[in-house]
C-alpha cells in the first residue's frame, strides 16, 4: 500500500516536470524489469539494452500513464512488449542463446559432474521454455517465476482470466511432456 502511494507521488512529481522523480522509479524497479526480461528471453544474462529501452519508453510515456493499473504492472507491460519485438529482431540477426557454463572447463573441476548434472537440467528446462509459444511462455514466467496473482497477469497481458487459465493449462501440459523425466 505504502509503495502504491509512493509510486503515485513519484508519477505526480514527474508530471510536474520534476524529472529526478524518475530516478527513484528506476532505482525501485530496474532490478524487477531486468529479472523479468531475463526470464522472458531465456536467461541470456545480459539484458541491459532491453532494460534501457523499457525505461526509455516509460520516460517518454509516463505523462500519458492513465493509472488504471499500478506503475509496476505498467512497466511489466512495456517489458513484455519490448521482449516480443526484441525476440523478432534477434531472430532476424540469427543470434543464438549463450550457454551458461563451459562444459570443458567444468570437467576439470572435482565436483564437476554434479555441476554438469545441474547444467544439463537447466539447459533442458531452458530449451523447453524457449520452445513454448510466446503467449504461453509469458503466462508461465509471470505466474511461476514472478509469482504474480492472476488478476495482475491478466492486466499485464490484457487478456481475461479464463484465457490466462487456458494458456497456463496448455503450457503445463507441454512442459510436463518435455520435462517428464526431471519431475
Amino acid at each position: 500500500m505504502a509503495e502504491t502511494i509512493n509510486d503515485e507521488l513519484l508519477v505526480e512529481q514527474f508530471n510536474r516536470n520534476k524529472e529526478s522523480a524518475f530516478e527513484s522509479i528506476i532505482e525501485r524497479y530496474s532490478a524487477d524489469v531486468a529479472a523479468l526480461a531475463n526470464r522472458l528471453l531465456g536467461w541470456p544474462g545480459d539484458v541491459e539494452d532491453i532494460t534501457q529501452d523499457v525505461f526509455l519508453a516509460a520516460f517518454v510515456g509516463l505523462k500519458k500513464f492513465r493509472r488504471d493499473c499500478s506503475l509496476k504492472t505498467w512497466l511489466f507491460t512495456i517489458t513484455i512488449n519490448k521482449c516480443r519485438s526484441y525476440k523478432y529482431k534477434r531472430l532476424l540477426r540469427l543470434r543464438r542463446l549463450p550457454k551458461i557454463t563451459d562444459k570443458a572447463s567444468l570437467s576439470l573441476n572435482p565436483g564437476a559432474h554434479g555441476e554438469l548434472m545441474k547444467t544439463e537440467t537447466f539447459e533442458r528446462v531452458r530449451h523447453a521454455i524457449a520452445t513454448l509459444p510466446t503467449k504461453y511462455r509469458e503466462a508461465v514466467v509471470l505466474r511461476y517465476l514472478q509469482e504474480l496473482p492472476t488478476d495482475e497477469i491478466s492486466k499485464i497481458l490484457r487478456i481475461s482470466k479464463n484465457t490466462l487459465h487456458v494458456r497456463l493449462s496448455r503450457a503445463r501440459e507441454y512442459l510436463k511432456q518435455e520435462l517428464a523425466e526431471l519431475m
Binding site: A34, R39, T51, T119, V125, E181
Partner: protein, 202 residues
Amino acid sequence: MTEEKLKHLLQKADSFAGPPDTARINLSVLRRRAHHRHIKYSLAPFAAAAILLIAAAIWKLPAKTPDTAPGQDKIASLESQITKLQASTDAAIDLIHQVLEQEKRQSQLNELQAQLASIPDPLEEIQQQVDKTAFILVYQADRLYRELNQTESAVETYKRVIELFPENQWAQVARERLTEIKEKQSYKIDLKGDSKWKLQNV
C-alpha cells in the same frame, strides 16, 4: 506430476541461472535518447513537406522562364520538357522498383538463411539424443539410489549406461557412482566384521 513440482523445477532453473547483469540506467542517457526520438518524430513531417515543396518548385520552374519563342516553338519546347520529365520520372520509378526488388530478395535471403540455420545437423541431433538418453538413465539411477533406496536397481541401471554408452561422459559419472556404492558396501561389511569379532571375544 503436479503444478507444484513444475513450479519448483522452473524456480530451480531460474536460481541456477542467477540474476541478470546489473544494468546501470542513466537518466541523462534516457533524456538524450528521448530528445533524439522527439526530434526524429516531430521533424519528419516538416522534412517531408519541405521535400514536396522543393519538388513542386522544381516542377514549376520551367513555366516561369521568359516567353520569347513564338507559339509553335513554345509548344515544342514544353513538349520536349514534358518528355524529359517523363523520362526522369520513369527512371526514378525504375530505380524505386529495383530497390524494392532488391529488398524483397534480401528479405527472402534472410528468411532462407534463418531456415537453414534452424535445420539441425543430423549427427549433432543423434549425439544429443544419445547424451539425453544416457543422462536420463543416470538421473533415474541416482533417484533409485538416493531417494528410493533401491541400490540393486540403481547398480543395474548404472551398469546399463556403461554397457550401452561406454565413451559417453555420463558413463564416466555412472562408473564413479558404482565405485562410490562399492566403497560404501565394503565399509559396511568391514564394520559388521569388526563388531562380530568383538562379540566373539567378549
